[in-house]
Every structure is written in structure tokens, then in C-alpha cells.
Symmetry: C2
Subunit: 189 residues, 2 copies
């Protein structure tokens, strides 16, 4: 993913406190061709795990999860942060700390769309502390489904997420690894 | 869009009070192949308006807007409902009534990504009362950009959105038109 790496280095902004602003192509404005390439690459890396569903968290996970699901030709489910009126009373719910919001947020999925036979590939925009992804894994497990992999567009390796995910015992793939943001730098491996 | 019509009739649920649940393929679980077809069709219908950007509102507008933007090969911007830490202090903000939430919600776009030369195609999952879309149009206009079209996956024609949008004086396209939900029915034109 040379193009992604170049884009992070060219357009990414280090806002301090580990916050990487990639709003120009991933988190607010989306470059659909780049994100489609990301989805194609994630789909390729997980082709053999037999995923039946992609699971992500609203909001900024949706775009890369859509393109990954498109290339895997399986449905995508995005966990909601609040229960919409269309959701049944009985839901799958967990809480996870939001890195950028500095508070706990709810992750909610309808049990209609995560089933015991599902093999779930979790996809998100960032792998940072891994807490959102672990929350999504809890939702899948609560549904009786199997988590079969974790894919992220950008990993911040200095926040320990990959270590936190080892307990899942599944392959973890990220398309670009930011190894250092100290002193205003953005270093991409 | 025969496949979309069939899917609404087969999987849609009339929850009363005009609420059409399409969570199994559009709003919570996403069928990426169907939504890619929707994006391809919207892109085709608006090929000639010269859009430089697709604009939608989080959350459920993102999936069809991603696929539309992909087929038009232009960036997508999704308006946020709260200001993330990555956004500048000075933003474009408007409020619009949320049909399903029964309250006013904020729509926020960074002025970094809507520019005076932009020609904006607004895409959303639903065209109902049109209030969200009018809010997005106000954001584009506040940026000095031109709105050049409005595309929706599903229109509920009995909620008056199309009439509300006439003031924009742009082409309005929807891929499926639900004309009646009275008495528990779902009638798709």
C-alpha cells in the first residue's frame, strides 16, 4: 500500500497527543479510489479465513468496511453508538473507551445480523489501543459468532493495540503502520 | 433498480409512523453489492452534472455515498453530527430536524473540504421530508459551492421531500419510490 503510505506522509497531520488527522482522505473527506484499494487489499489478505460478515463501528470505519465487504462479497454490519428506532428492544451492547472522544461509548448491534454461524472479519479505520476492536469482538462473541480476523487501514504501533488483540488469536493486518509521532513527526514503517 | 425494489418489498419492514426499516441491507447491515449497484446507477444518472464532490450526512448516508463517489471518481465528504477533535475551530454548521430521532441534529463540515469552486452532488439513503438534504445544501452554499444534484436510494414520496427540494432548482433522483405505507403496506412505485 505504497499509495496509502504516501498519502499519510503528504496529507496526514500530527495534532499531538497521538492524534493523526487524516480527514482529507479517510475520516471526513474520503478518497473513494484509495479506500477502494484499501478494501481490495484487506479482502485479499483475508481471502482464506472464510469470513461471512464484515463488522465495523460507525462512523469512520464504514467507508473502508464497505469496500472490504464489496471485494469479499459478504455483508457488512456497522455497530451503532445509539439504538435507532428501527432496532429491536433486545440488542447486543458493549462499551469501549473512545480514544478521540475521551469517554466511554456504546457499541450496539442488532442480534438479527450477527448469528452463531457467522465468521466475522473486524475492519476499522484505525488500530490504536485496540479497545474499539475488542469491543466489536465482544459483540461478535456475544452473538455466538467466531472472530476470524482484524483488519485496519492505519495502525499506530506505539499505542499497543496489536498486543491487546493477541488474546483474540486471529490474524491482524494493517495497511500502514505509523511507528512514531513524537516531536511532531509522522513516521510510517 | 429492480433488485432494490424487490429487496424493499421482501426485506423492508413497515414499523408504522412512516418508518421503513431497511436495516438488513442499507442502514445497519449493508449489502455491498446492492449498494454498489445503487452507487453505479446514481453516478450514471448524474454523470453530466459535473460534480466535483459527493456530500452526505453520517451515518447511514455514508455507504451509498461511498459507492456513488467511487463510480464518479470524486471525493466524498460526510457531514458530522458532532465536531471531532481533528476539525478546525471554525466550521460550517447547520441544524436539521431528524425524522427518526425526533429532535434537531447538527450537521457539521470542515471548510477545508467544501470549496467555492466545488460542484456538489448530495447523496443520502432516504429522501423523506428533505430536511437533512436541505441542511446539506445550506452547508454547500455557505462554502460558496454550487449544489448540482440530489440523489437518494429510497424516496418516501408521501412525506413531501421532493416538493421541499424544488427551491434548489437541481435534478433530484431516487432509485426506488415508496408511495404508500398506510395500513401496514409497503407500496413501491
Amino acid at each position: 500500500m505504497h499509495a496509502l503510505r504516501e498519502r499519510i506522509l503528504h496529507d496526514g497531520r500530527n495534532l499531538g497527543r497521538g492524534i493523526l488527522k487524516v480527514d482529507s482522505f479517510l475520516n471526513h473527506q474520503v478518497d473513494p479510489l484509495l479506500i477502494d484499494d484499501c478494501g481490495r487489499e484487506l479482502a485479499s489478505r483475508f481471502r482464506r479465513v472464510g469470513a461471512t460478515k464484515v463488522l465495523t463501528a460507525e462512523i469512520s470505519g464504514i467507508a473502508p468496511a464497505v469496500t472490504t465487504a464489496l471485494h469479499l462479497r459478504v455483508p457488512l454490519v456497522y455497530a451503532r453508538r445509539s439504538r435507532p428506532v428501527t432496532m429491536p428492544d433486545q440488542v447486543l451492547l458493549t462499551v469501549a473507551p473512545s480514544h478521540t472522544r475521551g469517554q466511554m461509548v456504546e457499541l450496539i448491534v442488532s442480534p438479527e445480523y450477527l448469528l452463531p454461524h457467522d465468521r466475522v472479519l473486524i475492519v476499522d479505520d484505525f488500530l490504536a489501543t485496540g479497545q474499539t476492536i475488542l469491543g466489536l469482538a465482544r459483540l461478535a462473541q456475544a452473538a455466538g459468532a467466531a472472530v476470524v480476523g482484524v483488519g485496519a487501514v492505519i495502525e499506530k504501533s506505539f499505542e499497543g493495540g496489536r498486543e491487546a488483540l493477541t488474546r483474540l488469536e486471529v490474524p491482524v493486518e494493517s495497511l500502514a503502520i505509523v511507528t512514531d509521532m513524537s516531536g511532531g513527526r509522522i513516521v510510517v514503517a
